[in-house]
Symmetry: C2
Subunit: 320 residues, 2 copies
Amino acid sequence: MALGEFELIDKYFTRPVRRAALGVGDDCALLVPAPGMQLAVSTDLLIEGRHFLSTVLPDRLGHKALAVNLSDLAACGARPLGFTLGLSLPQPDEAWLEGFARGLFALAERHGCELVGGDTTRGPLAISITVFGEVPAGQALLRSGARPGDDVYVSGTLGDARLALEMFRGAVSLPGEDFDRVRRAMELPEPRVALGQALRGIATAAVDVSDGFAGDLGHVLRRSGVGATLEAESLPRSAVLARQPPEWQRRCTLTGGDDYELVFTAPAARRDEVEAAAREAGVPVTRVGRIDVEPGLRVLGPEGRLLAADLHTFDHFKTP
Amino acid sequence: MALGEFELIDKYFTRPVRRAALGVGDDCALLVPAPGMQLAVSTDLLIEGRHFLSTVLPDRLGHKALAVNLSDLAACGARPLGFTLGLSLPQPDEAWLEGFARGLFALAERHGCELVGGDTTRGPLAISITVFGEVPAGQALLRSGARPGDDVYVSGTLGDARLALEMFRGAVSLPGEDFDRVRRAMELPEPRVALGQALRGIATAAVDVSDGFAGDLGHVLRRSGVGATLEAESLPRSAVLARQPPEWQRRCTLTGGDDYELVFTAPAARRDEVEAAAREAGVPVTRVGRIDVEPGLRVLGPEGRLLAADLHTFDHFKTP
C-alpha cells in the first residue's frame, strides 16, 4: 500500500470547516477572531519514545497530542478555535491513522476546535500541533500576576501519570485495575478548558502542569516575583496514589509531570468565586498553599518541617 | 555540556516582543490582528534526511525552515506577523543552535515576523514552524480562483534547487561556481512575500512551488475546475540550468520542487498591472501559459508536440 500524502490528508484529515474562513487544502488557513478578542497561540512537538511510548494505542495518542495543547489554552483562559497538525510517520499505516484521527477529532469536536491546516511527511514518528484560541483582550490568565497573600490552587489530582510511567519503567508494581486507572491519566488527560475560562477575572495567575507541579508553579513564582509556601500533604492525589509509599506520593505529586491540571492563584477574598467557578466547570479544585513575598518555593512536610526534596522541573535535555 | 530546555530557550530563542501582545515564556502567545484583517496560518514540518541534508549549514537551515513557511504566506498575499518554532534536537549543540538562530532570525527580521512561542525537545532533528500573517478580509489569494482565459505566470526561475539535489545525489556534475549557485537556490530560497502582497486584487489564484511546478499548478487547476496549456520552453530557468541537457532542464523546471517561487493566474486584460506589481516587488515574473476550460495540464514541447512527461507531483510518501 502506498498511500500518498495528498490522499492521506483527504482521507483522514479533511473535515468541513465551520468557523475558520478557509481550512485544509490551500496554502494557508484563514482565521477571523471576533472583534475585541485576542488570539492565543501555543505549540507542542511530541516525539515517540520521549513524550509517548511506542506501545500507546493510536486513538489515545491522537487524544493526548491535542490535549496537551488545549491545556495551554486552558491555562490562558482561552476558548479553543482551531489547530494545525504536522505529522511525521515511518509509513502510512491506515489502521494507525484511522485510530489516531478518531482520538484526535473526538477531543477536538468536544471543544469546538477545528483542524485548519497541516503537513504530513515520512520520517520518525513525531506530532506537532499548534492550537489557536480566543480570549477577550486583556483578560488572558498570565503567569505573572500572582501577589503575596494569594491562595495557591490546583485542579483535579496530581501524580497518576507519573505513577503509570514508573509502572511502565518497572520501578513500581500495581494491581491491574489500579494500573488501568493511572494509565488512563497518563494517556487520556482531560484539558481543563472550561475551568480556565471560568477563572477569567478571578485567578491572578495560572499555568498548566506539564513538567511537574513544583517546576510549573516555579514559573509563576519567578514571573510574578514572589514565592510560595505549601504543605506536601495538601496536594490532591487519587486513591491509587494514596496507597503508595509516602516518598512515591511526594515525588509523583510534586515533580511527576504530565498531569495537565491547572495551578492557579487567586486573592483570599475571592474563595467563594473560585469555588463557584470550579462548580461551573465541573472540576474539583484544592487550595494547597499561599503566595509569599520571599522568593522560592517552600514545601513543608509533616510537623511543618521544610523538605529538601528535589524540586527541579522535568527538563527534556537534562534527564537521561 | 548539559544545556537545559529552559536555558536553551532563554539563550537562543527569546527576543523582545514588538507586535504580539505576549511572546515566548507564558502558556500561550497572544496575537491581535488589526481590525478588518484575517489571520493567515500555515505549518510545515521538516525532517532531517527528508527535507534537508544533514550536511547543511545550520544558519542556512534556520533560514530555509522559516522561508518555506513564509512562502505559504506569500502565496496567500499575506503580510507576515509571527511564528512558533518546535525544535527536536539529538543534543543541545551550542554552535549549531547559534548558527540556526542566526539564519532564522535574519530572515524573520527582514520580514517583520517575530517568534512568539515554541517548544524544544531532545529527539531526531526535526523542525516544525507555524507562521501567522494578516491579509485584508476577502483579499487572500486562493487556489480556487483561476478562470479560462487567464494567463499563467511564474516568478523567478525554476529548477535550480532540484539540480543541486541531483548534484548531491551524484546524478549530475557541475563546475564549482555553478554548484555554489544552485546550492544557494536549494538552501537559501527567497520567499516571494512582497510579490504576493503586490498581487492582491490582481491575481485570480496563486500557489507556491514546493512540490514541483506541474504538481503545484495542478492544485490550482483542480481547485478552480479548469485546465492549462503551456510550453515547456517558456518556463524560466537560470543560466546554470540552461547549460544542462534538455531532458534535465525539463525535469528540473516542471517537476523539480523546492523552488518557493509563486505560480499565479491573472486576467489577460491586467498584464500591465501584473508587470507593475512585479516591478514594485523587485521580482521578475514570466508569462508561461494560459488557463483553459478543459481540465488537465497540457505541456507542449518543441513544434507544439504534447509531451508525455511524468508530471506527477513530488509526493513524500510515494518517493523511495
